[in-house]
């Protein structure tokens, strides 16, 4: 199995799918340069440079999908989905219902997300909670190159709209482009297992299936993306204190693997959510509801983003769900 970076894993899955399926077109700002190898392989008819017109090209992607294409739309960052949200919220997500079922909208939105490199509160949001709230959308959030490949491959065979989150901190290419800029004078707290790993060409990862990354009986930690790696590091350190954590990588938020969460919480009676997205009205609250609806009343805590993501690197590091915050919350739950 070849090793590759997180971002490259997504590129590869898209390239493999494009080679198989001639209806796939790639749309996005700067894609002729950012995805130059795809231009060289598939030509300008299938790799379309977009003007800075998110409302129009997301809307056009919905229409193109209605007409038989399978667009992959790249956003520069998920923060900018605000500009074109209508196409996602009111069109892609509703077509199936409004058409009486059967007319599906197969669009893949590739959305770089998250902070950790000091780009400020308009360029470091996660927003998967907001998007996963929308019926009709599929939302996937990989944390490893293997899952990035597998979920992208699955999404490109799925017949509805999918938002694929690409954590910029895991994606060496984005981090270089947006954060490092060929400098040696800056460093980033990149989880190695998320940034680089083995990828199996052709492999898929099913939607709605979480992965248990570590087993333990004292406390369930649920997370996605970078949060998974922070949780695993926290779990290592907590084990030294005699606390055994079960770490669940949810991988897909809609559909959500409620069963894996419920089964784990039933055993541990404690649920901690480590989420880089906003704390309120999102994933963390949703998982509490999942437990309650299953008749469980675990001790519960959430380590999330409480405020607008600060620009200053040290403030940003403190605001993100870091290892120290996760450990502190875990100790409170297990005291």
């Amino acid at each position: 199995m070849p090793e590759c970076t997180f971002g490259r894993a997504i590129d590869l899955a898209i390239e493999h799918a494009m080679a198989r399926d001639a209806t796939i077109v790639l749309i996005g700002e700067d894609v002729p340069m950012l995805r130059a190898p795809l231009v060289a392989r598939f030509g300008t008819g299938r790799v379309l440079a977009a003007p800075i017109s998110e409302a129009a090209f997301l809307g056009a992607a919905a229409g193109a999908a209605m007409g038989g294409l399978r667009p992959v739309v790249e956003l520069y960052m998920v923060d900018f989905i605000g500009v074109g949200l209508d196409a996602v919220l009111n069109h892609m997500a509703k077509l199936d219902t409004f058409s009486g079922g059967g007319w599906r909208c197969p669009v893949l939105i590739r959305a770089p997300s998250g902070g950790g490199y000091g780009d400020g509160g308009q360029h470091g949001q996660s927003l998967w909670g907001m998007l996963a709230a929308i019926p009709g959308l599929t939302v996937v959030v990989p944390s490893t190159p293997a899952d990035a490949y597998g979920l992208t491959a699955t999404a490109l065979g799925h017949d509805g709209p999918v938002v694929l989150f690409e954590s910029k901190l895991l994606s060496a290419e984005w981090l270089e482009f947006l954060g490092r800029g060929a400098r040696d004078s800056v460093t980033f707290d990149v989880p190695p297992a998320g940034a680089r790993g083995a990828v199996e060409p052709g492999a898929t990862v099913p939607l709605g299936q979480a992965a248990v990354r570590r087993q333990g009986g004292d406390l369930t930690i649920a997370a996605v993306a970078v949060g998974v790696h922070r949780a695993l590091e926290a779990a290592d350190r907590l084990a030294a204190k005699g606390i055994e954590c079960e770490v669940i990588d949810l991988r897909s938020l809609r559909p959500l693997d409620r069963r894996t969460v419920v089964e784990s919480v039933r055993r541990t009676s404690r649920l901690l959510v480590a989420d880089e997205d906003y704390v309120a009205y999102g994933l963390a609250g949703e998982l509490a509801a999942v437990a309650l609806e299953a008749g469980l009343t675990p001790r519960y805590a959430r380590v999330c983003l409480e405020d607008t993501l600060p620009y200053a690197r040290h403030l940003e590091a403190a605001a993100l769900p870091n290892v120290e915050r996760i450990i502190a919350a875990a100790l409170r739950l297990t005291d």
């Binding site: 390239e15 080679a19 700002e29 700067d30 002729p32 340069m33 950012l34 130059a36 190898p37 795809l38 231009v39 060289a40 392989r41 598939f42 030509g43 300008t44 008819g45 299938r46 790799v47 440079a49 977009a50 003007p51 800075i52 017109s53 998110e54 409302a55 129009a56 923060d79 900018f80 605000g82 500009v83 490199y117 000091g118 780009d119 400020g120 509160g121 308009q122 360029h123 270089e176 482009f177 947006l178 954060g179 490092r180 800029g181 060929a182 400098r183 004078s185 800056v186 607008t308 600060p310 620009y311 200053a312 690197r313 040290h314 403030l315």
Partner: protein, 342 residues
């Protein structure tokens, strides 16, 4: 040449040069977009603003803020992420705000136009003869909210000047490759009064802005100024395209290798593939040509040449600006290990 215009241009440039150095030292994070090449536009327009006028900016916001008189130390402290920065270190370089100057910026491309329209609306209700100016890039004029503002501002007859800085690029895309029509023609079609200037020529910009702003203060319809400019330092500091364009054999090797690999795999229509690769090569050549500081294309050099008739004044301004920036930098770095000299 009006000496103050030269001074303002020089301040804007010297500020950015200092910022580039801080960025290289790793003291500034994220995407740092310099406004080098835009100094004549900033100076030519912003020197017409008065107290109570609003200023809406995009991600390349430093030159207008410097010219507007926003305290340099507080700007620099924000870039360094310090608690006494403009946004208490929580905002960053794409999000510089100064309420005192009614100035705001945004990293969401296109957002400066509606923000400017709103500031203009507030001015028209609350502050007679006051206006708002929105700076925007050429790429941003493809954004829905920007195009909608072209209509809105006319419908409400807002005292808004949109200054479109046309550097022909939006990151790695030539605007012409993804745009229909000219920005100025678009605005004219909506009923704006429009003007077009060479954005390297500070006197031309100053005169055009004077006419348009003068009319706006008398209640005439919104105004659109298109100013062409070079982009001297790429899209942002560390711009890989610029590095690739300058050193294809070292900085471009990886991408070129990937492209060559992909080109030999089974794929789409051959003509479109070749066309795509040629287009990429053309972009690299253009990126390199646009960023050459050959003197002729640099607005600051042009202004300096124009000051040659008055070398004493020029030297004095250069000294004063040098001192101003040096002391701002020293104050901003007061608690940074190594300070100015590291």
């Amino acid at each position: 040449m009006h000496p103050d215009l030269y001074r303002q241009m020089l301040r804007a440039r010297a500020y950015e040069v200092a910022v580039a150095d801080l960025w290289r030292r790793g003291l500034i994070s994220g995407e740092m977009h310099l406004g080098t090449g835009e100094e004549a536009v900033a100076a030519g327009v912003v020197t017409h603003l008065r107290d109570g006028d609003g200023l809406a900016l995009a991600h390349r916001c430093s030159p207008p803020l410097v010219v507007r008189g926003v305290p340099l130390v507080r700007m620099l402290r924000e870039l360094l992420g310090k608690p006494d920065g403009l946004g208490h270190g929580r905002a960053g370089h794409m999000h510089l705000f100064s309420r005192e100057h009614l100035a705001g910026s945004s990293g969401v491309v296109g957002a400066s136009l509606p923000m400017g329209a709103g500031l203009a609306l507030a001015a028209s209700r609350l502050r007679p003869r006051r206006i708002a100016v929105a700076f925007t890039g050429d790429g941003a004029l493809n954004q829905g909210m920007a195009l909608e503002t072209l209509n809105l501002a006319v419908a409400w007859n807002l005292p808004l000047l949109v200054v479109c800085i046309d550097n022909r690029w939006a990151i790695a895309t030539r605007s012409a490759d993804v745009s229909g029509g000219e920005p100025g023609e678009r605005a004219a079609a909506f009923g704006w009064q429009t003007a077009r200037v060479d954005g390297r020529d500070v006197l031309a910009v100053h005169a055009a802005a004077q006419t348009l702003i003068g009319r706006l203060r008398k209640g005439r319809k919104p105004a659109f100024l298109l100013a062409t400019c070079p982009r001297l330092d790429g899209h942002f500091l560390g711009d890989p395209m610029l590095r690739m364009a300058r050193q294809p054999l070292t900085d471009g090797r990886e991408l070129l290798g990937e492209v060559a690999g992909a080109a030999t795999r089974k794929g789409g229509d051959l003509l479109r593939r070749v066309g795509g690769v040629l287009r990429m090569t053309r972009l690299l050549v253009q990126a390199r040509a646009g960023a050459e500081r050959d003197g002729r294309g640099d607005p600051l050099q042009q202004a300096r040449d124009a000051m040659a008739r008055d070398p004493e004044v020029r030297d004095r301004i250069e000294h004063e600006v040098h001192d101003e920036i040096a002391s701002a930098l020293e104050a901003a770095l007061i608690d940074t290990p190594g300070g100015v000299d590291a």
